[in-house]
Symmetry: none
Subunit: 225 residues, 3 copies
């Protein structure tokens, strides 16, 4: 489902269809049922996202074909894609901060839920994905870098500019839940505990149980059963 109208305009139109801000998604799943260029969820962080390190965790399931790009998480400021996570066309999972990304060969995302965490710290640039509690090989990515504040976090779409420029063929279709984020690197045992649904320190950037969010377009909140 694509539209020929300019994306900025579209963005404005569908902003009218946004829900009011809501709070808390404990035991809930975000369901993006169709491919669109107008459905997304905005998340409000608990603190400014000036980051020299982070852990980002979420659970995701999708039936999208393997050869299609999928945006998994987008944090954008006026000038930069600050922190984007993608499933690439070639099946790899990538992590981008302001420009060239780094790419990981992970087991394919599919119809069964995958738990996915991403850790990065600025000092050595060590970064890794954790899939269902297992760590990938570390890669060294942008040591010394820091993530800028005052942007917007979207689930479901990749904005090519701040608050605009969405593309259906990059959208997320499927289920996403348990999006949590910390401004430090969690230990491996904590990430495993999170994977198994055990109690871990609450995310101090995003905490799914009390998360502040706004739905736009066709996104459903369903019970996690």
């Amino acid at each position: 489902m694509t539209f020929a109208m300019p994306a900025v305009f579209l963005f404005g139109v569908f902003a009218l269809a946004s829900s009011a801000t809501q709070v808390g998604l404990s035991a809930k799943v975000l369901l993006f049922p169709y491919e669109t260029d107008f459905s997304y969820v905005t998340l409000t962080p608990l603190k400014e996202m000036t980051l020299k390190a982070f852990t980002l965790c979420l659970r995701v399931a999708t039936e999208l074909p393997e050869e299609r790009q999928i945006i998994l998480f987008a944090y954008r400021t006026d000038d930069y894609d600050e922190l984007n996570m993608w499933r690439e066309k070639d099946g790899r999972i990538s992590f981008h901060m302001s420009g060239d990304g780094t790419f990981f060969h992970l087991p394919p995302l599919g119809t069964f839920r995958t738990s996915l965490c991403l850790t990065w710290e600025s000092v050595a640039g060590l970064t890794a994905f954790w899939v269902d509690g297992k760590r990938s090989t570390y890669q060294v990515y942008k040591p010394g870098h820091s993530i800028r504040p005052k942007g917007t976090v979207l689930l479901g779409q990749d904005p090519d500019k701040h608050l605009g420029g969405l593309e259906a063929l990059q959208s997320f279709v499927g289920e996403m839940t348990d999006v949590n984020m910390w401004d430090f690197v969690l230990s491996g045992s904590t990430i495993q505990a999170w994977h198994y649904g055990r109690k871990v320190p609450e995310g101090n950037i995003f905490n799914w149980a009390t998360i502040e969010y706004e739905l736009t377009g066709n996104v459903k909140v369903v019970d996690d059963d």
Copy 2:
């Protein structure tokens, strides 16, 4: 990242960049972040490597594409590749002593850690790989042979002559840890115990906890998390 300079010269240059000898890598991982022809780790054995039998164990994770050769372990004397372990271009894992090797169809190496042991004994030539504690089929390889002493053990590169002749396209990229070696064949139950991180007899050639090593080029020692 390749250089046109002769490898021997390079080798000399980068030897200048070597760390002093260090001791002990307990709970540490060697991270080879990029493809180079100058990054490697030299290991000092606890005894001369005149071997009529051995067990070599290590844990390894790599994102290198399946169709690329990867050196996993290289022990070379002046005239011979005494004991080399490779991931071959076709995905098989091979074991070479002074010439033609023997090849095994094992599950592919990837971004999650694989524990890999290799056993060989000279009397019958019985050799096998153990992947995550499971033994491959035995093969009969070079019965009567013995491995010569006074060479050099490298991780990360394959020297085509003693202390020289490195090639980026054979280099190791990824993580290696828990490199241990014994001058005898461990039992299957001991190898399984090692895989699960339980206490086993300390390696009498290499013991990761007290290993004497020297870093050259771009190799990082990171916490094993």
Copy 3:
């Protein structure tokens, strides 16, 4: 390794190289290290093989490529292949009694050990394979048939006539152990118990612990470790 000499002649020659009859292979593995047309093991059954039902179990590991035929068990009388088990060129596992066989899609055999049982009974012709304790779909195969006595059981080769006609490209290469056979159909729970190495009724046709066997050509008896 193939020879241009007629196979019958070869067979005679290598019969000279046979071991004397030996007894008992408890905790031992038969290792067929190379592809040959002269290496095999003859098994002496505990009773005449006039069979209206049977269970045949064995454990097997092989590195042979997927597209090659492999003989897994051959019982031949003068005129018939009485009971042959194959890994076919297309990867399926087959079971033949005197002519056309029946074919099963099972998980591929590989370098790690697979436990394989085959059951058949004449009344309804119900036959199934059990792979690592899990049963395949039943097939109906030759109800009313019975297997004839006074033949020879070979491991490692398929004789195209009684005691002759061997082909390297059908030979078994790898490890075989725990070959046991009963003249009745074991229950599923007994087959699972056997898979896990628990105590089950001793095979009354072949009992690996006390089996009478003769080695010919290049076959090694090695400890099962």
